[in-house]
């Protein structure tokens, strides 16, 4: 055992000396390799953390939402629908929801205006999300003036700012009272944006959705499980897309690495001949080459992963900000909760360490089985 370790250490010695001979080339390779692992790992860690967090918090979203569609557009729902839906067996409760969008030309941002079900707000009072507060640089007691549907400016006093820890769901929210909302958007008292239903038995939610569409064929029910499924697929898709975008870089690197790792130069072949002539076995040469691949790929994997971890969970994934921001002015500032998928990390490990190491060993196999007397000729 001791001899085995000593032998491996000698092989590492040799490999490192040999790599250091072409310092710039090999350090460059290590750098590019680390960068690619870093990018892949960042995407993986970030999307997985968001996916898990979305799954946890959106599990509390309404069980069943009923939208009314008119000519392919989402339309306001009359209050009569609400009464009829309450009559469906299995529906525990139903509320009309009031929400909508507002484009603020001053800062060129979109807000979501919402009438909260869980709190009563005074006339002229609003509660804003931390993103809105940040964009306008305002706090409790300040006034925000919005232009109502009739063109009149409507000054609203900020009664509170939502805690920044909830920015992932609330950054662009402006909560206001029902009367203000209806006045602001000029929506009549008998209309709602959509309806939220609570169901007595969660297993019946599908049956109830079916009953809803039978009762009102112009509606479209959205189940909570569908919301969760959408977010699952969004993050999988996004991860897939970034991998696709990255794949160009990965492919270029793969070609480069393959060339570097697999092509044995005449000099390397000669060296292997010398090593064999002075008493190295074929297996020693192969192990030495294994270490050459392992030294580079292990360092790149660990380095890239650690940097990605710091980037995503300590640096709030700042490199992705422009991508996630897109054209939006208002962007939630949050640090993802570090949910890590061990299997994903293991996959990354196998995908980065194994192919490279294999690529270094395969060609050497052919060279190492040549006769050691080749160096004499």
């Amino acid at each position: 055992m001791l001899t085995f370790i000593r032998r491996q250490k000698y092989l590492i010695d040799y490999t490192l000396s040999s790599l250091l001979r072409r310092k710039t080339k090999n350090l460059g390779l290590l750098l590019v390799y680390t960068l690619i692992v870093f990018l892949l790992a960042s995407v993986m860690l970030y999307t997985h953390a968001l996916q898990r967090e979305a799954g946890i918090i959106l599990a509390e979203s309404p069980e069943l939402i009923v939208q009314r569609m008119v000519a392919g557009r989402h339309d306001l729902v009359p209050a009569e629908y609400l009464e009829a839906l309450r009559g469906i067996r299995g529906v525990r409760a139903a509320q009309g929801r009031l929400w909508g969008y507002y484009y603020d030309p001053v800062v060129k941002a979109n807000y979501t205006l919402l009438v909260p079900a869980d709190r009563a707000l005074q006339r002229g009072e609003i509660v804003v999300g931390a993103g809105v507060a940040r964009t306008h640089n305002m706090g409790r007691g300040d006034y925000l003036t919005l232009r109502a549907a009739d063109g009149k400016a409507m000054p609203l006093r900020v009664a509170d700012v939502l805690h920044h820890e909830s920015e992932l769901v609330s950054a662009d929210l402006i909560l206001l009272g029902e009367a203000d909302y209806r006045e602001f958007f000029r929506i009549d008292a008998g209309l709602y944006t959509d309806l939220a239903l609570q169901v007595r038995n969660p297993r019946e939610v599908r049956t109830i959705a079916e009953k809803v569409t039978r009762l009102f064929p112009d509606t479209r029910p959205i189940l909570r499980e569908e919301i969760l499924r959408t977010y699952d697929s969004i993050f999988n898709w996004r991860q897939g897309i970034v991998v696709v975008l990255l794949s160009g870089a990965i492919l270029a690197f793969a070609i480069f690495a393959w060339d570097k790792a697999s092509g044995l130069s005449a000099e390397e072949k000669r060296e292997i001949g010398i090593l064999k002539a002075i008493g190295w076995e074929t297996s020693d040469v192969i192990r030495m080459k294994f270490w050459e691949g392992a030294v580079i790929s292990l360092s790149a994997f660990l380095g890239g992963y650690l940097l990605a971890y710091l980037h995503v969970f300590y640096g709030a994934a700042m490199l992705f900000e422009p991508v996630l921001k897109g054209w939006a002015v208002l962007y939630p500032a949050f640090r993802p909760v570090p949910f890590i998928d061990g299997l994903q990390v293991a996959t990354l490990f196998f995908l980065t360490v194994f192919p490279y190491t294999a690529a270094t060993i395969v060609p050497v196999w052919r060279a190492a089985i040549m006769d050691p007397d080749a160096v004499m000729r």
């Binding site: 000593r6 032998r7 000698y10 010695d13 000396s17 008493g279 006769d371 160096v375 004499m376």
Partner: protein, 225 residues
């Protein structure tokens, strides 16, 4: 100690460019002697040397080392035998560029996995013995021809082999350095080593220390004392 009987070596067997380098040589090399294989280039002396040193296997015939047949051994054992028994000094020295002198000397011992500090000390002592201890940290490409050969000799001796094998050792050296080399060979013989050389340089084969001169011509032994 090393005995060859009816050894033949054919290259590219079965192909149109088939070439018979050694055409049936029987030979016995004694321990603690200096043997020189002499002959013009292309005579097959280098091939014969690589057969003796277990670098290559004969196409037919038997080679025994201290009475033990080597021809049938699998590669692993053959490598092991070669590493323990023979030390090689190649014509172009074949040092590994980019590595230091000390690393080059230590290389043949790596597969056995001895203790690092002991191996390092041993390599350093060898270098001191051959007067190049000060160059231990140098890269080998900075060495002169004579220094490079001494490093190659040190590397050949690191595993403390019974037999030192050198192919055309003076081909890249001037007369003064060639004489110094023969002095080293004499020293090694005094220490009880067996030395086998190939050469067509009179400084080597006419040296008084040489015990036996074997002339190789066209893959056969033309004459031997």
């Amino acid at each position: 100690m090393i005995e060859l009987s009816e050894v033949r070596k054919v290259f590219n067997q079965g192909k149109p460019n088939e070439f018979c380098a050694i055409r049936g040589i029987s030979l016995r090399i004694e321990a603690h002697e200096i043997t020189v294989l002499k002959g013009p280039s292309g005579s097959g002396k280098t091939t014969l040397l690589s057969l003796i040193g277990c670098l290559a296997r004969p196409s037919s015939g038997r080679i025994t080392l201290n009475g033990r047949a080597l021809s049938g051994l699998p590669e692993r054992f053959l490598t092991d035998v070669r590493r323990r028994t023979f030390g090689f000094v190649f014509q172009h020295f074949n040092l590994i560029k980019g590595l230091t002198v000390l690393e080059n000397v230590m290389l043949p011992a790596y597969p056995a996995g001895p203790e690092w500090s002991a191996l390092r000390r041993q390599a350093q002592q060898l270098l001191e013995r051959f007067g190049i201890g000060a160059k231990a940290g140098y890269k080998v490409e900075w060495l002169s021809g004579g220094e490079a050969q001494r490093v190659a000799i040190c590397r050949a001796l690191i595993n403390d082999p019974e037999v030192l094998i050198a192919d055309e050792p003076t081909a890249n050296l001037d007369t003064k350095l060639s004489r110094e080399f023969m002095e080293i060979v004499r020293m090694l013989k005094e220490q009880g080593k067996t030395v086998i050389l190939t050469s067509h340089d009179p400084v080597v084969f006419a040296a008084p220390v040489v015990d036996r001169l074997i002339e190789v011509r066209d893959g056969l032994i033309a004459g031997g004392a």
